[in-house]
Symmetry: C2
Subunit: 240 residues, 2 copies
Amino acid sequence: MPNSKDDVYGDHISHKFNDELMELKTEFLKMGGVVESQVEQAIQALMDSDGQLAEQVRARDKDVDQMERGLDEEATLIIARRQPTARDLRLVVSVIKMVADLERVGDEAKKIAKLALKLAEEGQAPRGYVEVRHIGNHVLGMLHDALDAFARLDSEQALRIMKEDKWVDEEYQAAARTLLTFMMEDTRNISRCMSVMWVLRALERVGDHACNIAENVIFMVKGEDVRHTPMEEAEKVVGR
Amino acid sequence: MPNSKDDVYGDHISHKFNDELMELKTEFLKMGGVVESQVEQAIQALMDSDGQLAEQVRARDKDVDQMERGLDEEATLIIARRQPTARDLRLVVSVIKMVADLERVGDEAKKIAKLALKLAEEGQAPRGYVEVRHIGNHVLGMLHDALDAFARLDSEQALRIMKEDKWVDEEYQAAARTLLTFMMEDTRNISRCMSVMWVLRALERVGDHACNIAENVIFMVKGEDVRHTPMEEAEKVVGR
C-alpha cells in the first residue's frame, strides 16, 4: 500500500533525494526571509534616520552572501549526485537562478542602508520619503508574494506579481518626476534628492527581482519560459 | 592510439557530448558578442545624438532575449541528457548564470539607448559626455576581456578584471560628483544631467556583470567560488 509521500514523489529514486530537494527549498525560503527583512529594515532605517539599524543591515549582507554560496553549492551537488530530470531539474536550475536574484535584492538593501546613513548624517527634513514608503511597501509585498508563490508552487499568484511590475515602474516614474521638481525648486535640495532617487531606483530593482522569481515559479510549474513574452502569452501558459 | 581530442576530452562519454559543450560555449560567446556591440552602439548613439542607431539598439534587445532563452534551454537539456559532473557541470551551471548577466548587460544597453533618444530630442550641448565615453570604454574593455577569459578559460585574466571593478566604481563616483556640480550651477541642467547620471549608472552595472562573468571563469577553472571573498583570497585561488 503506497503511503501519501510515495504518491506525491513517486518518481524519485530515493527518499534521500526528496529530502535533499525539500532542504534546498527550505534553505531558499530562509534566504528569502532574510533578504525580505533586510529590505524592510533598510527602509525603516531611512524613515527613522536610524544609523545603527542601517549599519546592522550593511553588516548582515555578509550572511546573505554566505547563504548564496551555500545554496549554489547544494544545488550543484544535487545535480551531480542525483541527476534530476524534468520537474526536479527545473526546480534545481530555477533555484540557482533565483538565488542570484535574492543576492541582488540583498545588495539593493545594502545600498539603501548606505544612503540612509548618508541622509541621517545630513539630518535635514525628508522630501520624497512618502514615495519611498509607498513604493517600498509595494515591492516588499511583491517579494513576499513571490516567495510565497514559490513555496506553494502557485503559478497564478506568480502571474499576478508579473502584472504588478508595470505599476511599480509607473509609481517610480512619477516619484522621480516629483523629486526632479524639488531639485529645481531649490538647488540646496539636489544632493539629498539624488540620494532619495537612488533609493527609489534600488526599490524598483527589488520589484524586478520579485518578477524574475515569479517567472521562475511559472517555469517550474508549467515548464515554459515566460520571460520577455507578452502578458497575454503568459496568461495562456498559466491557464493551461 | 589516442587522438588529441581524446586526450583533452578523455573523460567524456561521447564525442556528441563534447560537441554539445563546445556548441554551448560558442553560442554563449556569440551572445556575448551581440551584447558587447549593443553597449558600444548605445554609447555611440548617445555621443552622436543618433536617434536611428538608438532605435536599432532598442529593437535588437529582443534578439538578446531570444538568445538567453535558447542558451538556458540548451544548458538544461545537456544536464538532463548528459548528466555532467565535475568540470563539465561547472561549465554548464556557470553558463546558466552568466547568460543572466549578459541579458542584463543587454538591458543596460537598451536603457542607455532610451536615454540617448531622450537626450537627442532635447538637443542641448552635452555635459558629462567625456565621463560617459571614459567609463564606457573602460567597462567595454572589461566585458570584452571577461568573454575572452571565458573563451580561453584564463583565470588570471579573470582575476585582473575583478581587480578593475574598484577603479570603475571610483570613476563613477567622481563622474557623479562632477554632474552634481553641473546641476547646482544651473537648475536648467538638472533634467539632462539626471539622464547622463542614469547612463553612468548603467555603465557601472555593465562593469559589475563583467566581474560576475570573471568570477564564474575562476569557478570553472579552479572549482572555487571567489564571490564576496577578499582579493588576496581570490589571488591565492588563482595562483594555485
